[in-house]
């Protein structure tokens, strides 16, 4: 029990910093090809949108922005399978590796926002 607690604390500390910086430079290893259109459907059907929004834009209340330049796929996959913060775990039994790649493809395909939005000017 104490070891479990210690492990949880370490993981929890790790995700605390992770959640603050959701976007990291892409790793040298290329992400697997994932169909973004199919990924969009999966993003909804497996519930990613619930915390991250339909556009993966994120919410400071529930989950960080994921796109358009997500963290490297390896780190993304690792976190989805074994999250260390409040995110519920998505095991292979729930989301296959190929479906995860499609979701990643959808996140990558998110557009950058417009440069000038009058309502957001100071």
């Amino acid at each position: 029990m104490k070891r479990l607690l210690l492990l949880a604390l370490v993981l929890s500390a790790a995700v605390a910093s992770h959640a603050q910086t959701p976007q990291r430079p892409a790793a040298a290893t290329p992400a697997p090809a994932g169909n973004a259109d199919e990924g969009k459907k999966l993003f909804v059907s497996v519930g990613c949108y619930q915390c991250h929004g339909y556009e993966a834009q994120g919410s400071n209340a529930t989950g960080p922005r994921l796109g358009p330049r997500p963290m490297a796929f390896a780190a993304f996959s690792r976190y989805v399978r074994q999250p260390s913060g409040q995110m519920p775990p998505y095991t292979v039994k729930v989301v296959s590796d190929s479906d995860l790649a499609k979701i990643y493809g959808f996140i990558q395909s998110r557009p950058d926002p417009a440069k000038e939005i009058p309502l957001l000017k100071p």
Partner: protein, 651 residues
């Protein structure tokens, strides 16, 4: 007070029985209980047929003069007392157990101060009073049945209790079982009407005479308004409301003077020690939740923060601190708490949760998020009033100084104590800190604007887009965000400039869904006379709890702009179900069962229109939002409520 011919209720019924109910052989209770129990009348034992009375004809002269009217019932005196307490409104769904005082309010009292606000549900009455208090600073009265009304009202009372808001409750009841009307009045009567809510109110009483009512009514007000503020309840016997005031009672009637108790201040030694820690700290942090009860509270908190040049984290239970003040560091809360060497918590709901993190996983864990040795100072009036059954008091915080006192009342002494300790060296250090904090404040605002741009043109409409379209429409008005039901990613506090005490009123307290709409309408009622533009962000699930309150808004012409955050789900619960399904490795394809509000989609605009409220929507194209807001604001400025149904992203 003029004396009037009087006859007490039992005498009145005795007379009535003689003339009208002889055929039923109904004998009033009083006649059955003289000094000595009399023998039964001889005819009572005789065969019924032989002694059956002949019913009186309507043309027969009455045996005695039956008193059928009075022009001075007990309810009138109750109104005298209530008027002395300066209530503007009394909210109620009408009920026979308080018909006496209801009639006295609208006729004897002239339906003014208090004015009767017609509600369609007791939960709405109480939540309206809840929102009204936070905008107005004084309580609203509520009337309800002691049984079915109190049962409906219970959740809203609990919310007010958790939010430390005084609501002045009066519940009708008929105590004397021998005088109850058969049928419904029995179902609406109870031995102890306060019992079902006593765990989450501050005080209650059951006056048995009008002088008793007068003292208890004034005492209840005083208790409710002394921090920690909470709801109070008076149970009003039906006979006390309806019976004529006898000359004997009349001679004893007077309205007691109300003297408000001053709010409890922190012990001078504890204040001095807290000041010493704060001035000496390298990284002090001020955390405020329900700290600023009044406009003065905001000014006092600003003064303390500027004296120390210390960051303020606003947890939002009240307005507390301007969002654009450079010392407002709410966006940087996590980092500041982690680096703090002294943290002072002002009326925190959850001090433990402020300095610890917990994880909702298969194995629930928690850990401290502050450095070892960080000094914790608490000022909260909640230490003066705790109850055991309901667990809203959160985990036990291990603080170094605990002042059982009202934070707002203690702030002036604390600030003065700090000022006395500040040396030139400390002043220099404070100036450096101020510079760093101002830069961090500006960076956080820029970060929020950048974050808001993502998904700007999305459908469903992003909550950031909705927030900023609304801000663009109201920012040049004298606006007040009176409620925000549903989780909106903190866009308003991150992006709007909140300055005045009425611009942010905090949440429900107990997280009982259904608070948003009635609380917003109650606060808008308070703002009406001041011409403020009241605005609420209205959750879809919240709307559906007791939507009749929108009729109340239309009926009483309460101006309010309601913009819906309609994500078509009890989304928080959907996320909980997702968590369970993932934890059990079953996928989430069924997480919508029992949690979504679709199939069919609710037409909120049509519901609102049916209740007499101007309404638009559903709006799904973000470009339609700006014009809809302009149309709605025109309606609100005419003095009416207006609702826009906006289909939104989940958060």
């Amino acid at each position: 007070m003029p004396e009037k011919p009087s006859l007490d209720r039992r005498d009145f019924l005795k007379s009535a029985a003689v003339t009208g109910a002889a055929a039923l052989d109904f004998t009033p209770a009083r006649a059955l209980v003289p000094a000595a129990i009399p023998p039964l009348p001889a005819q009572a034992a005789a065969p019924a047929q032989a002694t059956a009375p002949i019913p009186p004809r309507e043309t027969d002269p009455p045996a005695t003069v039956e008193l059928l009217t009075t022009d001075r019932p007990g309810g009138d005196f109750m109104v005298d007392v209530i008027k002395s307490l300066d209530f503007e409104y009394v909210a109620a769904n009408p009920g026979s157990s308080f018909r006496g005082i209801h009639e006295s309010i609208v006729n004897y009292g002239g339906n003014a101060a208090p004015e009767f606000i017609t509600c369609c549900h007791e939960e709405s009455s109480v939540a309206m009073a809840h929102g009204y208090f936070k905008a107005e600073g004084k309580p609203m009265a509520v009337l309800c049945h002691g049984t079915v009304g109190m049962q409906h009202a219970a959740m809203a009372i609990y919310n007010a209790y958790c939010d430390r808001v005084p609501v002045y409750l009066m519940a009708g009841n008929t105590l004397d079982a021998t005088l109850r009307r058969p049928g419904v009045e029995w179902a609406h009567s109870v031995q102890d009407a306060a019992a079902m809510v006593r765990d989450f109110i501050k005080w209650d009483d059951l006056p048995i005479s009008l002088p008793h009512f007068a003292e208890s009514a004034v005492r209840a007000y005083k208790i409710a308004m002394t921090p920690p503020m909470m709801p109070v309840l008076l149970v009003l016997d039906g006979g006390l409301q309806e019976d004529p005031i006898t000359s004997e009672i009349n001679a004893r009637l007077r309205v007691p003077k109300l003297t408000r108790a001053s709010a409890p201040q922190g012990d001078s030694g504890a204040v001095a020690e807290a000041a010493r820690l704060l001035v000496a700290a390298q990284n002090p942090v001020i955390v405020a939740d329900r700290a600023a009860r009044t406009p003065a509270g905001i000014a006092r908190l600003i003064e303390l923060a500027e004296t120390l040049q210390a960051p303020v984290i606003n947890q939002g239970g009240r307005m507390n601190f301007p969002t654009r003040h450079p010392l407002n560091q709410s966006a940087n809360a996590r980092q500041l708490v982690a680096n703090a060497d002294v943290i002072i918590g002002l009326e925190l709901t959850d001090f433990w949760g402020t300095v610890n993190a917990s994880r909702d996983s298969l194995v629930r864990t928690s850990r401290s998020v502050v450095k070892p040795g960080t000094k914790l100072i608490s000022i909260t009036a909640l230490d003066l009033a705790t109850k055991g059954n309901y667990q809203d008091f959160q985990r036990y915080p291990e603080v170094d100084i605990a002042m059982a006192a009202d934070a707002e009342a203690t702030l002036p002494a604390l600030t003065e104590a700090c000022k006395r300790l500040i040396t030139a060296d400390r002043r220099t250090a404070f100036a450096d800190r101020a510079k760093r904090l101002a830069e961090a404040h500006g960076a956080a605002l820029e970060r929020a604007r950048a974050d808001a741009a993502y998904g700007w043109d999305a459908t469903p409409i992003s909550t950031a887009r909705m927030t900023m379209e609304l801000w663009g429409a109201i920012k040049n008005e004298d606006w007040a965000l009176v409620a925000e039901s549903g989780i909106m990613s903190d866009w308003t506090s991150r992006l709007w400039s909140f300055e005045k005490h009425y611009q942010s009123l905090g949440g429900s307290g107990g997280a009982g869904v259904g608070y948003g709409a009635p609380a917003a309408i109650g606060a808008a009622l308070a703002n009406k006379k001041r011409g403020r533009l009241s605005v609420t962000i209205q959750g879809d699930g919240d709307f559906l709890y007791a939507p009749g309150v929108w009729w109340t808004a239309a009926h009483h012409r309460i101006p309010l702009l309601a913009v819906m955050h309609n994500n078509r789900a009890y989304h928080q619960e959907m996320m909980h179900l997702q968590r369970m399904a993932n934890r059990h490795q079953r996928g989430i394809t069924r997480a919508n069962i029992g949690t979504s509000i679709d199939n069919p989609n609710v037409d909120f605009a049509k519901i609102a229109q049916g209740l007499g409220v101007h309404a638009q929507g559903p709006i799904t194209n973000p470009n339609d939002l700006g014009p809809a807001l302009r149309r709605a604001i025109e309606v609100v400025k005419r003095g009416e409520p207006s609702l826009i149904d906006v289909v939104t992203q989940p958060r």
